[in-house]
């Protein structure tokens, strides 16, 4: 068995942490100009042969990648984790704090209209659900949170949500947040159009 010496370890760490393939010169800039990087790369290639990770060279630059025959494990589905849009997270927060709540009430509290897609996303995520009709004119549908909502957010019950006083104490009602929120609302308009698409 090959015993990785310190240089090999250093090259291994540098390649692992790099955000792009590195040339031998680039590797030297980390591990020392005089280093036998080529020798270390050979040692590493041998160490990783037949493993789940392999060391590969492309056009004089080196990087690690997952072994080709493992690819089927890694892309079983095309979907990616998606972040909730600002509109969706605000809507979810309002539902959680005010449930059962109608769409008109959500809009009154947010001060901005919500698109149909926003509620759809929350229901698709399994965090919101229709919760019967309000017995008022028009009998509007109300919304509430689900048990999955509590599970996802690590809450034993809705009573565990911080109250207004807690929010204030944590600095979440500060004017600075307000200014940021205002900015975000400007962006929010487009976002609504895009039907609560993920942003990052």
């Amino acid at each position: 068995m090959i015993e990785p010496d310190d240089l090999t370890r250093a090259v291994e760490a540098v390649l692992f942490a790099a955000d792009e393939p590195l040339s031998i010169d680039a590797i030297r800039s980390y591990v020392g100009e005089a280093a036998d990087v080529r020798g270390a790369l050979d040692t590493l290639a041998e160490l990783y042969a037949g493993r789940g990770i392999e060391l590969v060279e492309r056009g004089g630059r080196w990087h690690f990648q997952t072994a080709g025959d493992m690819a089927h494990l890694l892309r079983r589905e095309r979907e990616e984790a998606r972040k909730l849009s600002r509109a969706a997270i605000e809507t979810l927060a309002i539902i959680a704090y005010h449930e059962p709540v109608t769409r008109a009430e959500i809009e009154a509290i947010r001060g901005v209209q919500i698109s149909k897609g926003t509620l759809d996303v929350l229901m698709e995520a399994g965090w919101a659900r229709p919760a019967g009709r309000r017995e008022t004119p028009g009998r509007p549908l109300t919304y509430a949170t689900t048990p999955d909502f509590l599970t996802h957010f690590g809450l034993a019950s809705r009573r565990d949500l911080p109250g207004i006083d807690d929010l204030r104490a944590a600095g979440l009602l500060d004017p600075i947040d307000l200014a940021m929120a205002e900015m975000a609302i400007g962006e929010g308009a487009d976002e609504e159009m895009a039907n609560a698409s993920e942003e990052d």
Binding site: E77, Y97, F153, L172, L178
Partner: protein, 264 residues
């Protein structure tokens, strides 16, 4: 490590303060995060295990410190003075013959004070040790460009509890002053209108305007609600074959008449 406060003996700070220009005083109570912070710095200056500190000496140092700050006409926040008063009391209680009536005993109080200093000291050290660890993204690194995994579920929506409560905080802060609740309004429900119009139709022989079916009221919003509900009720009765409707032209008065039931 962040702004680690100097642990140099406080006496030096004082000496420097005494013979320097009053404008450049280093004796600065604002530099401390409250009386307990100052006490801890004084205690650490004793250079012994906090379990062995002399509470009496500590009290004395604190009182001198605060006294000098006042002599230099520095503004001393109230909580420092409250602490000074309490420590002065503790000192005298420790020196005077013990009054067995007084609970808790001054020795107990001294012990509790020492315990509080130990607690704060422990957490201060713990924070420093945490920050000195090999921290991810500073000392140790994950792969910078992972291929990424595809989740099995179709769209896995992500949100953190912090995002949720921060969003609510922002909504609340944004709209709180202008958030008003609509009070309950007087409305005539469809059921009520249906019942009323069909009852009145039975008493009416001739064509009559829909307005004549409305209740006598000066309440404008309620009248509007009653008109809307009665109109829908009229349509419903017409659909059931119990009423006829007539209107000469758009926006002209709408007339209603009951249909005589055959064989009734």
């Amino acid at each position: 490590m962040t702004e680690e406060r100097s642990d140099k003996p406080v006496a030096i700070r004082l000496d420097r303060a005494m013979d320097s220009d009053p404008d450049t005083l280093t004796l600065d109570l604002e530099g401390w995060e409250g009386p307990l912070d100052l006490l801890l710095a004084l205690a650490r200056a004793q250079k012994v295990d906090l379990k062995q500190i002399s509470i009496l000496a500590l009290v004395e140092q604190y009182l001198v410190y605060v006294e000098q700050a006042r002599a230099l006409k520095l503004e001393v926040a109230a909580d420092y003075l409250v602490m000074a008063a309490w420590l002065a009391y503790l000192k005298s209680a420790l020196l005077l013959p013990r009054d067995p009536e007084v609970e808790p005993s001054p020795e107990d109080l001294a012990l509790r004070l020492q315990m509080r200093l130990e607690r704060l000291n422990a957490m201060r050290d713990a924070g420093a040790r945490l920050l000195a660890r090999d921290r991810l993204g500073r000392d140790v690194f994950r792969r910078a460009a992972p291929e990424g995994l595809r989740t099995v579920r179709k769209a896995q929506w992500q949100a953190e509890i912090y995002d949720l409560i921060a969003a609510y905080g922002q909504v609340t802060a944004r709209n709180r002053p202008v958030f008003h609740v609509v009070h309950e309004r007087a409305v005539m429900t469809l059921d009520a209108a249906l019942e009323r119009v069909s009852r009145l139709l039975g008493l009416q022989v001739d064509w009559a305007t829909i307005e004549s079916f409305l209740p006598d009221t000066l309440d404008g919003p309620f009248r509007k609600s009653a008109l809307a509900s009665s109109f829908v009720a009229a349509l419903e009765l017409a659909r059931m074959g119990k009423a006829e409707l007539r209107q000469q032209s758009p926006f002209a008065p709408l007339y209603l008449k009951g249909v005589e039931k055959v064989g009734a």
